[in-house]
């Protein structure tokens, strides 16, 4: 197997809670507890979980917007976090982010052309002809016309704005794109268009996606691999087909069972994969079944990710 493009090793992120007296007896909120993941070239890895499970914190750490408390992030085998991290300029060439609400991430007082040109200028692309050329190409690839770049963000519809958000992320030709809930703010019909566009772009440019989402039907459609997070830990990870057709961890099963999917609700699709109680492999128990919220100010109980079939890991504790 090729070396992964990005690897996160034993990532911990903790935030101090208020109410401490000069750091004495200071309580920490454990947002991410020992998370490890690899992202291969050209694959889409989705992190799913509910609000507060640490999925966005993980994404921000990858983007360099949140310094890890412990652990390391490597890009092509070189440190991507900590004291040896590359400069912001180099980092920007490696990983970019598409946000949930594109309107909030675009400058309302700049035309789209300026928003797209700025990162190029910072990376020493200053010749007007080259700027125009690259902006034209990126506008085309996200399904907009170059003329539309002369407009301001408020002149676009929600779907078009998300296209601009994607264009902005792609303008520096990064290898990794972090997608933070890229379609959850969009209407059904627009959502389909953006999902199609993201899949086309992934194929065209060989992009690697790290997608954060809570919408499991979108995740099933787009991902190669899925990691399910619960309170700062990955509780189950594996190829999309394993997660969706053979979920093992009680939390994964609960998540899948709660999706209001028309086919499942009306009994139109194959019988549900999540009937009956979750079974831990012999000799193991589930460290936390995800049924209640653990105390976030203490770390989790010791447990490990056990490989139950090729590439399919489940968090278990020894019984």
């Amino acid at each position: 197997m090729d070396a992964p493009l990005l690897s996160v090793e034993d990532l911990h992120v903790r935030f101090p809670l208020s109410g401490s007296w000069f750091g004495r007896g200071r309580k920490m909120l454990h947002a991410v507890n020992g998370l490890s993941l690899d992202l291969a070239k050209g694959e889409c890895l989705s992190i799913v979980g509910e609000s507060g499970c640490g999925k966005s914190t993980t994404a921000l750490s990858v983007m360099g917007l949140q310094e890890p408390s412990e652990g390391s992030i490597l890009f092509r085998g070189k440190p991507f976090s900590g004291s040896q991290a590359p400069s912001r300029m180099e980092r920007a060439m490696a990983a970019q982010m598409v946000f949930q609400d594109p309107y909030a991430s675009l400058n309302p007082r700049q035309t789209v052309w300026h928003s797209l040109a700025q990162p190029l200028r910072l990376h020493n692309v200053t010749a007007r002809s080259e700027l125009s050329d690259r902006i034209e190409r990126v506008m085309h690839s996200v399904g907009l016309t170059p003329e539309q770049a002369e407009r301001y963000p408020h002149e676009f519809s929600g779907g078009q704005r998300q296209r601009i958000g994607i264009a902005r992320a792609l303008i520096l030709q990064p290898e990794i794109v972090v997608l933070d809930e890229p379609v959850s703010a969009l209407d059904v019909s627009i959502r389909a268009q953006i999902i199609n566009l993201l899949l086309d772009l992934q194929e065209e440019f060989g992009l690697s996606y790290l997608m954060i989402s809570h919408d499991l039907s979108v995740v099933e459609h787009m991902s190669d691999r899925v990691a399910v997070m619960f309170f700062g830990q990955i509780v189950e990870t594996g190829p999309w087909s394993a997660i969706f057709s053979d979920p093992v961890h009680p939390y994964t099963r609960r998540l899948i069972a709660t999706i209001p999917d028309p086919g499942a609700v009306l009994g139109l699709s194959r019988e549900s994969v999540v009937e009956g109680p979750a079974q831990a492999p012999a000799g193991w128990i589930f460290a936390d079944d995800g049924s209640s919220a653990p105390d976030v100010t203490v770390g989790p109980e010791p447990s490990e990710l056990v490989e139950i079939s090729p590439g399919h890991f489940v968090r278990l504790a020894r019984s």
Partner: protein, 302 residues
């Protein structure tokens, strides 16, 4: 059996310079007592303004331009404001998408629920506050006797939405309007809140007008569904029939645009329908309608 709510050819919009601009272009549907009816559509299709017109909360410059809304035999659009006020919250109640902006941040939730009993049933505050504890218990809020003293900001999103439901159902309304009640919630919390609405309304025989853009949620909740597009009800059918054999071009496009759970396992990854290329001419979409005759589905509810 007579329908509980009968919306007839409802038109609304705004008048500007002597010209009427219509937002709803003649919407008609009926809800039977105890029935759960879904309105589904994309942003701007007119589903929320329909519900606001029913509960009498349309804000200027929006106004009704035509049609009738019969509720328990009375035309709501012709009702004096006083009577509409006594009806609202009492016989017709509403749950909104964003509980944080629908609740008063300066009052305890117990006080806000109690107000329903004071306003509509003429109870004393002391009595009403006792009833608020029961109301919270009925929406399965743990330790309700302590929770009544909480302010909205002290509660999680799911709990706040439970408080909204407790308020809405306090006076045992005949019709509950739920406008995207779970859109702001996490999936597992969403499932709990949907279950709660379903069970409480079935227990009390409350009819529900359920508005959502999420086809999956609509399928879970509703017996009949109306699909709205550009201010028109383009298709109406029993839920199962609508999903199994959508008749209108727009409904077919909408269902095809939805990634369906399990479909990749069965058929591999198929490109989602791009509704713009699927539908040749959007301007002609509202010219055809498909309204299925009401069948036995509502019969069992009544």
């Amino acid at each position: 059996m007579k329908p509980l709510l009968d919306v007839r050819n409802l038109e609304l919009g705004l008048r500007h310079g002597g010209q009427a601009h219509r937002i709803l272009k003649g919407v008609s549907f009926q809800i039977m007592p105890g029935e759960t009816y879904g309105l589904v559509g994309e942003s701007g299709s007119g589903k929320s303004v329909t519900s606001l017109a029913i509960i009498g909360l349309l804000k200027k410059p929006l106004q009704t331009l035509g049609g009738e809304i019969f509720f328990e035999g009375r035309n709501l659009l012709a009702l004096p404001r006083r009577e509409m006020r006594s009806l609202r919250g009492n016989r017709i109640a509403m749950v909104f998408q964003e509980p944080m902006s629908a609740l008063n941040p300066l009052q305890t939730v117990g006080r806000q629920i109690a107000e329903m009993y004071v306003q509509h049933q003429g109870r004393s505050w002391a009595q009403a506050e006792k009833m608020a504890v029961e109301a919270l218990a009925s929406v399965r809020v743990p330790t309700p006797e302590r929770r009544v003293r909480d302010y909205p900001h002290q509660m999680s999103g799911g709990l706040r939405q439970r408080v909204m439901i407790a308020m809405a159902l306090a006076c045992d309304p005949a019709l509950l309007i739920a406008d995207e009640p779970t859109t702001a919630l996490d999936v597992t919390v969403q499932a709990e809140v949907l279950k709660l609405i379903r069970e409480l309304c079935a227990e009390r025989g409350t009819a529900v007008l359920f508005i959502s853009h999420d086809l999956g949620v609509i399928a879970t909740m509703c017996q009949r569904v109306g699909v709205m597009y550009a201010g028109c009800l383009v298709e109406e059918n029993a839920t199962r029939d609508l999903f199994v054999s959508p008749q209108h071009e727009y409904t077919r496009g909408l269902l095809g645009a939805l990634p369906k759970l399990g479909s990749r396992r069965l058929h591999g990854r198929q490109r989602l329908v791009d509704i713009d290329s699927f539908i040749a001419d959007r301007s002609r979409l509202t010219e055809t309608r498909f309204i299925a005759p009401r069948n036995s589905v509502s019969g069992e509810a009544g």
